[in-house]
């Protein structure tokens, strides 16, 4: 075999390796070759498009919850979180003295929150640096706490820390109710009481 033929075989191997990934797998969890799946990407992006049409925040919420055990539950959490951030930003536009104080928020939860909140002024360090929910509140601060450890039904309740329930459309209320029912069913099925 001369070098040209060997190179052409190598080129063919590259093309086949590309094409193999487009063969639909029966079960993405049984993927011994670890093919990855462009078709899964298409499916995910179509779903994101659907979510986008319903609520501009939903795709971000879904993606931030992706990879977690219960994406729907996390989606509800992140939607709520971003609505809070949007509302705080709005009040900051009306009143530039508004600022946020983080209390007991883990670093990896706090940093994306800071992105969502910017340019609202922020104070308070993250939980790993010793911040807790019991930190004294600075006068005039809008407090933001961690909610990562709490289940969806608690998350959807109005917070005691001055965060008002955002105005929801009828459709959004229905969607939230659906998510809550789903979470309740899961809780009942797992029996773990979380």
């Amino acid at each position: 075999m001369d070098r040209t033929v060997a190179t052409q075989i190598a080129a063919l191997v590259v093309v086949l390796a590309i094409l193999v990934r487009w063969i639909p797998g029966e079960d993405p969890f049984r993927d011994p070759l670890g093919r990855g799946a462009p078709l899964e990407v298409l499916k995910l992006d179509s779903y994101l498009k659907e979510l986008q049409a319903r609520d501009p925040l939903a795709p971000t919420a879904y993606l931030r919850g992706f990879g977690k055990k219960d994406p729907d539950r996390w989606k509800a959490y992140f939607v709520r979180r971003m609505r809070d951030a949007a509302r705080i930003q709005e009040s900051y536009r009306d009143d530039p003295s508004v600022f946020v104080q983080f209390k007991g928020v883990p670093r990896n939860e706090m940093w994306p929150l800071m992105y969502d909140l910017y340019p609202v002024p922020m104070v308070g360090t993250w939980a790993e640096n010793g911040s807790t929910r019991d930190d004294p509140t600075e006068p005039g601060a809008t407090v933001v706490e961690s909610r990562l450890e709490r289940p969806v039904d608690e998350v959807s309740a109005p917070e005691a820390a001055g965060v008002q329930e955002p105005e929801l459309t009828l459709e959004q209320r229905k969607e939230l109710r659906r998510l809550q029912r789903q979470a309740e069913r899961r809780k009942a099925a797992s029996g773990d009481g979380r």
Partner: protein, 480 residues
């Protein structure tokens, strides 16, 4: 969407004018012209935005729009004058396609379609997805949002230690580019800002196609396009880690583009194919250093590569190319940012004896991690295995000036990654949870090694195809 389209068209216009008016040698066919136009335009408009910010003018529609308008006016006349050479390239292009048999033409078309499929997937994902990658949110997009809100990157986000998460002194070229749609529309939209990133991948693939087509034939160019555009890490690995894909709003694909562009321009300079190949290499090298810290070792790699490969005036060429890159870095960011706090890993500051000695014990972890990553079919297909095979097949040609130059650049770049891993003092809460008493390096490598390999993969593919006798009928390719 119109904000994104207008931003891209402005960049393309500036890039095409620079390509024709400053660099003087137009691209080979419309695909390469598109790729080079985007590559030069995204880099130039981003750099112009950095300059405007560095001068303290504030980045706004009026200031940056005025600067871009002035640049366009200055370039129109010189660009207009190079049209005769442009026609010559079209002739060469037709000849190149005519030389293919019917089967080869079909294979060429099929490979280009395959490339378009990979790129379409990345562009669609980029358009539909908001920013979701943790590092993209906390660094590149955070700075883009700060630019949109404050009109400068020398404000509170870069000076207040509270915002150390943004890696304050880190080069911010891509953040300036991601801010362009917000300048056009007047409001920052996270999804639209991040949707500009997949276009770096489009430029990457189109540039690689054109450059290889000139050197090794149309079939070789089309294979490079299909291969790079369908690298799983680039087009469709779903989620992080490492999340370096074209739709992830990370700076690895932009760096990959500027690195490959600089190497290809250097190759043209070495072989005197382009009158201003070295200037182009220096310019792209500057964009690379303004994109990520990993662009800085590239200055050393390129200077060394020129020294071992240039036929004449080696020192002058090496100093000129690396000097232009370094000058752009210092002039547009380095000097202005020298007062900002260093809140990234700051590998340069750890290059001392003690860190090296401590890092030696990590070499085993680094080599085994690297071995695992290159064999990862999910992220890389058979890319690294096939590349090794191609390099073995073309081993005799590796000593020729162009392959030798590319090898040196890649070797220095990869060596810099190994050194960075060896000396790093990185840690994070997540790493502390997973490895409470152990070295966090394996965790860091899991998060980042794929990204680093993504930076060099397209250039490595170009090297593999340049030395391979794929479309040259067993004859040495013209490039060597």
């Amino acid at each position: 969407m119109s904000a994104l389209v207008v931003s891209l068209l402005v960049c393309l216009l500036v890039g095409v004018l620079i390509d024709r008016g400053v660099l003087g040698d137009p691209a080979f066919g419309w695909i390469e012209r598109l790729g080079r136009g985007l590559m030069l335009g995204l880099g130039s408009v981003g750099s112009l935005s950095l300059l405007v910010d560095g001068l303290g003018l504030g980045v706004s529609r009026a200031t940056l729009g005025g600067a871009v308008g002035f640049l366009v006016l200055a370039l129109v006349v010189p660009a207009w004058r190079v049209s005769p050479r442009f026609r010559l390239s079209e002739d060469e292009e037709r000849k190149s396609l005519r030389s293919l048999s019917r089967n080869e033409l079909l294979a060429h078309a099929a490979l280009l379609i395959l490339a378009c499929v990979g790129l379409a997937l990345a562009v669609r994902s980029g358009w539909l997805r908001p920013t979701f990658q943790f590092d993209a949110i906390t660094r590149w997009m955070f700075k883009a949002k700060a630019l949109a809100a404050d009109g400068t990157l020398f404000g509170v986000v870069s000076t207040d230690p509270y915002y150390s998460l943004t890696h304050q002194r880190y080069p911010p070229l891509v953040s300036h580019i991601a801010n362009l749609p917000a300048l056009v529309s007047g409001e920052f939209n996270d999804r639209i800002a991040s949707s500009i990133f997949p276009w770096f991948a489009v430029a990457l693939v189109a540039t690689a196609y054109g450059a290889l087509r000139r050197r090794s034939g149309a079939l070789s160019g089309a294979l490079a396009a299909a291969w790079i555009a369908n690298l799983p890490m680039l087009s469709f690995v779903l989620m992080p880690p490492p999340g370096a894909g074209a739709a992830s709003a990370m700076a690895d694909i932009p760096l990959s583009l500027f690195l490959m562009g600089a190497v290809l321009a250097l190759a043209d300079g070495l072989q005197a194919r382009r009158a201003r190949g070295y200037v182009e290499a220096g310019l792209l090298l500057g964009f690379a250093t303004l994109t990520k810290n990993e662009g800085l070792p590239l200055l050393v790699g390129v200077a060394l590569a020129v020294l071992v490969s240039a036929p004449r005036s080696r020192w002058r060429c090496a100093t000129g190319v690396a000097g232009l890159g370094l000058g752009l870095y210092l002039g547009l960011w380095g000097i202005a940012a020298s007062g900002l706090p260093i809140t990234d890993e700051h590998y340069l500051g750890r290059l001392h004896g003690d860190a090296f000695t401590a890092g030696l014990s990590r070499l085993g972890i680094i080599v085994s991690g690297l071995g695992e990553e290159v064999m990862n079919f999910r992220s890389w297909n058979l890319t690294w295995a096939v590349l090794t095979f191609l390099l073995m097949l073309g081993a005799r040609r590796l000593g020729r000036p162009v392959p030798r130059m590319i090898l040196v650049v890649l070797a220095v770049q990869c060596a810099s990654y190994v050194v960075a891993y060896a000396v790093t003092s990185w840690s994070s809460p997540a790493a502390a949870l997973i490895h409470p008493d152990g070295d966090p390096l394996p965790f860091l490598m899991k998060l980042t090694l794929g990204r680093l390999l993504m930076q060099v993969a397209p250039t490595a593919i170009v090297l593999g195809l340049i030395v391979s006798p794929l479309a040259s009928g067993g004859r040495p390719p013209r490039s060597c």
